[in-house]
């Protein structure tokens, strides 16, 4: 068994029209190398499910997104994602706007193979009105009416972590694993990029087994992508690149800004990407954000 893929093999295993979940949280630990591979591909008509950061804006700007299922889209220190904003204000996206908690609840329903999970969340708000959610009544004495959050089944989930092995064992070392494990369990196929791919985790990093955020039966492909979260943060290894994110955000106000970012920064291949954004050493040295 060897689940290691090249980035080209990874992108070739996706199809237009798929529903793809992107793990991470806002500008934190996003599988950006995998997202850039999608940006360089012919894939189109995707449904994207995410706690969105710059990857959502980029995929929208590149015309890859048919439908967006989101709890928020933000780059934290740059609160409003400019390309997401453009796409929304142009009215070109199908959307399902969720509460953050509803999103993970829908992933859990999918992971548990349930049609829905009940929750209070969304009731009484326009998330309910616009999302077309249905309610269920508790069959017990309380008789409460609850929102039935439908399963968010994913064709594919994309994660970026610190380490993976060829069997699909992965380790995410940061202080927070967000909802990555639920994206993985909700998906038919999960693709994980990692800073480092080793032959066997038990031979290389057995002492960090508690960082194994999801079991390997839920991991179908691993891709080695050093510094593959750039420009998002990868604690404890490197921080987000706010200067880069600022320049990316500013490009949305320029004529042809996205096309230039796509050509000059995303570029033709991942191999040259790190050189184009300042080099490996500079990216690896980006300080962790302070909150």
């Amino acid at each position: 068994m060897n689940k290691q893929l090249t980035i080209e093999e990874f992108v070739a295993s996706l199809k237009s029209g798929m529903t793809i979940g992107i793990a991470g949280w806002g500008p934190r630990r996003k599988p950006m190398a995998l997202v850039r591979a999608i940006l360089r591909s012919d894939l189109t008509d995707l449904t994207i499910v995410a706690y969105g950061g710059p990857e959502v804006g980029m995929l929208c700007a590149a015309g890859k997104v048919k439908k967006l299922i989101f709890g928020f889209v933000s780059m934290d220190a740059i609160p409003l994602e400019p390309y997401f904003r453009k796409a929304r204000e142009a009215g070109t996206l199908d959307i399902l706007e969720l509460d953050e908690g509803m999103l993970q609840w829908g992933l859990k329903a999918a992971a548990f193979r349930l049609p829905f999970l009940p929750t209070h969340v969304g009731l009484g708000t326009d998330v309910m009105t616009h999302g077309g959610f249905k309610t269920v009544q508790s069959p017990y004495d309380d008789g409460e009416v609850l929102l039935a959050m439908p399963a968010l089944k994913l064709d594919a989930a994309l994660l970026h972590v610190h380490r993976a092995d060829k069997l699909g064992n992965i380790q995410a070392l940061g202080p927070d694993t967000y909802y990555d494990e639920w994206f993985a369990r909700a998906a038919d196929k999960t693709f994980v990029s990692a800073e480092e791919v080793v032959d066997r985790m038990d031979h290389s990093y057995p002492e960090d087994a508690r960082a194994n955020i999801v079991e390997r039966c839920f991991v179908h492909g691993v891709v080695e992508a050093p510094l593959g979260a750039h420009p998002t943060s990868m604690p404890p290894s490197y921080g987000w690149d706010m200067k880069h994110l600022k320049a990316y955000a500013d490009s949305a106000r320029e004529d042809g800004g996205w096309d230039r970012y796509l050509a000059d920064t995303i570029g033709a291949d991942e191999a040259g990407y790190l050189d184009r954004v300042g080099g490996k050493d500079a990216v690896a040295a980006l300080p962790l954000p302070i909150f």
Partner: protein, 266 residues
């Protein structure tokens, strides 16, 4: 005897806002934005030490983390509350009181941070999306901080997209348990309000020195009630000012209210 200290309006509001958490006990106090965060820290360090607080990332701290640049490892973790546990442990369990700054607030306390104008399919101005507001508002206590009280924030009619639940009777779906909806304080640059009038209507309970009720009404898109006895917002004490200064060593609070006006003694 020492001279009474100088203070800014923002500092006066931080002290008023910290009262939102008084006697809340063991729950997570979240202040989103510099002033609410300082208010939560002040509450924990003065009247309500039981409060829990995060470092803004993944750890629970007993010493509130100062704002702005600092050493990454300066904060000492006492517990663990990452995003991956946040809904289970803090939000849906009701163990939280958040203070937020919505873009719009209506007379029922419903708020909006999603989009302004246009439609759901094509908003005029896209903002963040609903984030955690639907869940926060139906599960735990919430308060609000508004640095510029105006009709743009306190809107006539309903907010453009109801991101958080308030007390609007028209949105009380039969059979739904809204018993945990619990809106406490709204602190603005003009006044302090609560939801203590009949039918949970918004009520002015405190006016900042030199501000009149009519001035507040003028800046609000819906009819306000006045509490039986409207108090005057107190001046911060020297101890409170010292704590605020320690929690904000870079002076980020100076940017919260336009032109950072001085506070006034009543």
């Amino acid at each position: 005897m020492t001279t009474a200290p100088e203070f800014t309006l923002c500092e006066q509001l931080i002290v008023a806002a910290s009262e939102a958490w008084r006697s809340n006990g063991e729950l997570v106090a979240t202040g989103i934005g510099p002033a609410p965060r300082l208010a939560a820290g002040l509450a924990k360090l003065t009247h309500t030490p039981e409060l829990m607080m995060t470092d803004g990332e993944a750890f629970l701290v007993e010493d509130p983390v100062p704002l702005g640049p600092r050493g990454y490892d300066d904060r000492k973790a006492a517990g663990y509350l990452p995003f991956s546990r946040f809904f289970d442990a803090a939000v849906w369990s009701g163990k939280r009181h958040a203070m937020v700054t919505p873009s719009q607030i209506d007379r029922f306390g419903q708020t909006n941070i999603s989009y302004l104008g246009g439609t759901y399919d094509q908003p005029k101005v896209q903002m963040l999306g609903a984030r955690g507001f639907p869940g926060n508002s139906i599960c735990h206590i919430n308060s609000m901080f508004v640095p510029a009280h105006s009709k743009r924030v306190f809107v006539e009619g309903e907010v453009d997209m109801v991101s958080s639940v308030g007390y609007n009777p028209a949105r009380r779906t039969p059979g739904v348990n809204f018993s945990r909806v619990d809106l406490r304080l709204i602190v603005t640059d003009l006044c302090v309000m609560d939801f203590g009038a009949a039918d949970n209507a918004i009520r002015v309970v405190m006016l900042h020195p030199g501000v009149t009720f009519d001035q507040v009404q003028e800046a609000t898109g819906f009819a306000l009630e006045a509490a039986g006895e409207i108090k005057t917002t107190p001046a911060p004490t020297a101890e409170q000012l010292a704590i605020i200064a320690r929690l904000d060593p870079h002076g980020l609070r100076a940017g919260v209210i336009k032109d950072n006006p001085a506070g006034k003694r009543s």
